[in-house]
């Protein structure tokens, strides 16, 4: 019996006449790795922002971790983690300071903070870099750090917006190891990406095209459905007719 952690019903976001997200309805189960795919401009980031409580939907409904997206955004925020597309740690603070800051505002106690900080640094292998300003770290390490900070408070769900953009394949692999580890701990992962091979790592994926959700299934089933050898081909099939190109 799977728990539902995210449930949306005809969730829509309009900007004037432009419908960025058009009545999407789906469910995400507890503990799964959910891939939220789509071309640039398909409406992924808009949808994600609604689910995080960053933007108010125009119509439709959604519950995240059991909380209503219109009325209970404060509760939602307590239970989620987020890693934005634009890197969002403080570049002029060092590694430890960033961890302590975010840990602190998520309500971790001093003891928890000390413990977590040590744990994280060891896990990421940042022992020698711990006191260095984050701005001086290479991109891959920044991304891994940002992810770790996003799950520091063990949220129910973590939202990742194109987390591996611009990162080398080895680091990407390491990143996904972190994601698996988090999923094993029971954190639901909601990730958007362009990398179709990463789609294969997910339990289920959805595909947004022109603001509409065109597919929702496991990677294996989608490949079978579209008679495709890879997710690339699936994507191509679905997104071919897309009208919106830019992000």
């Amino acid at each position: 019996m799977k728990n539902i952690v995210i449930k949306t019903d005809k969730l829509t976001k309009r900007f004037g006449d432009f419908i960025a997200t058009n009545e999407i309805s789906f469910e995400v189960y507890d503990g799964e790795i959910f891939g939220f795919l789509g071309a640039n401009g398909a409406g992924k980031t808009t949808a994600m922002k609604m689910l995080c409580g960053l933007s108010t939907p125009s119509s439709g409904s959604a519950t995240i971790a059991g909380f209503d997206v219109y009325k209970q955004t404060e509760q939602i925020k307590k239970n989620i983690g987020y890693m934005s597309q634009k890197f969002s740690l403080y570049e002029d603070l060092n590694v430890i300071e960033n961890i302590e800051f975010y840990g602190g505002i998520y309500g971790l106690t001093r003891k928890q903070l000390a413990h977590k900080t040590g744990e994280l640094i060891t896990q990421l292998g940042l022992q020698t870099e711990a006191k260095k300003l984050v701005g001086s770290l290479p991109l891959g390490w920044k991304q891994k750090l940002a992810f770790s900070v996003a799950v520091l408070h063990e949220p129910k769900i973590v939202f990742l917006d194109e987390p591996t953009g611009g990162v080398d394949p080895i680091t990407r692999r390491q990143f996904w190891d972190l994601i698996y580890a988090a999923a094993d701990r029971g954190i639901t992962i909601f990730v958007t990406t362009h990398y179709m091979d990463e789609a294969e790592y997910c339990n289920r994926i959805s595909m947004m095209v022109d603001g509409v959700m065109k597919a929702l299934d496991t990677p294996a089933q989608l490949k079978q459905q579209f008679n495709a050898g890879s997710m690339d081909e699936v994507f191509f099939e679905l997104a071919r007719g897309a009208k919106r190109k830019a992000d």
Binding site: L54, K77, Y82, K86, E91, L93, Y102, G104, I105
Partner: protein
């Protein structure tokens, strides 16, 4: 609140780590405070006068002596040519010209009246008025002297002595007997510097986070917006207080010898309110600007107006009614007034009640507007 503690810790770390910023906040203002009051001196002295003497008589020479002896004037030219003197005015070497016509002494005695021609460079209206009035006074005294010298000795009381009716004015200067301009300027410049720091820094700081994207990250956390705002305002409030204190006691007292006459608690109470109002303005600017450049432009615009309309450089009373109204909508105007009143005159709470009320009004107005706007757009 724990969250606030973490927010503040982060802010202070960032501020003090910013090597380029620190000198701007602390050192530059203090240097300016050190140097600028030395420059501020409106006194009209050493008025340059160029004299054209076509008469070369005893009277004209006496007049010349009286003029230079008066202490107001410095003779920069003495000749025959109006052209040459006028050129001195054009080149800003002379501020006024006095032309003594030929036959001055003779005609004065024989015909009873003579004119002297004076031309004044009136670009600076106030300087011109004062210069002209000083010169007029010298001429009048000279005139009286001449009349007296023509009075037959020991004469009719009625006629003779009326010429001598003298109204002696005794002038006293209260609160600043030595007319020390620094006393006047230092508080004003200090206020201006603190204002600049708080408004600019606050606005730029928040907009920078907007530009980089770290604000979005904060928005996703359970940190309430009003806490975040407090976390941004408090550091600059503290810095403002600090810079003010160093400026007042470090430089004001040690270098310029300004000893506060009034109640310091009162002053700091007002200062705290003032800073809140200013930070509200900075916050407000940050909600409307998307880039640092925009924030800077807007902040600059308002700073210029605030400064020039604050009564620091020119007097508010001399402004036309509408400008006076604007000047009174300017929080800086009020603080400069209060600074001077409390520091130099020792005014008390009753005296500054009105500006204090205005400041409370400003603080509430700007901060409310800013916070409402912040919640909507950021």
């Amino acid at each position: 609140m724990r969250t606030l503690y973490f927010l503040l810790r982060k802010e202070f770390k960032q501020i003090f780590r910013n090597k380029a910023l620190l000198p701007m906040i602390f050192i530059a203002p203090l240097i300016q405070l050190l140097i600028l009051p030395l420059a501020a001196d409106y006194e009209v002295k050493n008025i340059n006068i160029s004299i054209i003497d076509n008469d070369h008589s005893a009277y004209s020479r006496k007049l010349l002596k009286d003029i230079t002896a008066s202490g107001y004037f410095k003779a920069v030219g003495y000749g025959n040519s109006f052209q040459a003197a006028f050129r001195q005015i054009e080149q800003d070497q002379a501020d006024l010209i006095l032309e003594i016509p030929a036959g001055f002494e003779k005609n004065l005695v024989n015909e009873g009246a003579q004119s002297l021609f004076i031309a004044v460079n009136a670009i600076n209206g106030s300087k011109a008025t004062l210069g002209a009035s000083y010169l007029r006074r010298v001429v009048e005294d000279f005139n009286a002297g001449i009349r007296l010298s023509w009075m037959p000795a020991g004469n009719d009381q009625q006629v003779g002595n009326d010429q001598q009716a003298v109204i002696e004015t005794v002038s006293s200067n209260w609160y600043n007997p030595f007319l020390n301009y620094r006393f006047f300027m230092v508080p004003g410049i200090l206020v201006t510097l603190v204002t600049m720091i708080c408004v600019y820094m606050c606005a730029l700081n928040i907009v920078k986070e907007k530009e980089i994207g770290t604000i979005e990250q904060i928005n996703v956390t359970p940190v309430k917006k009003h806490l975040f705002i407090l976390g941004k305002l408090i550091p600059f409030w503290i810095i403002g207080l600090f810079v003010f204190t160093v400026g007042l006691f470090g430089i004001g007292r040690l270098v310029y010898g300004i000893v506060p006459q009034g109640n310091l608690l009162l002053l700091y109470g007002f200062l705290s309110l003032y800073l809140v109002a200013l930070l509200g303005i900075g916050l407000l600017i940050s909600t409307y600007a998307e880039t640092q450049q925009q924030a800077m432009s807007v902040a600059f615009f308002f700073m210029m107006i605030f400064m020039l309309m604050s009564g620091l450089f020119t007097s508010v009373d001399s402004m036309p009614a509408w400008a006076k109204f604007l000047a009174n909508c300017n929080p800086v105007t009020h603080f400069i007034k209060v600074m001077r009143m409390v520091l130099l005159k020792g005014s008390g709470f009753a005296d500054i009640q009105f500006p204090m009320l205005m400041m409370v009004g400003f603080a509430i107005f700007f901060n409310t507007w800013a916070i409402l706007n912040y919640k909507k757009t950021v």
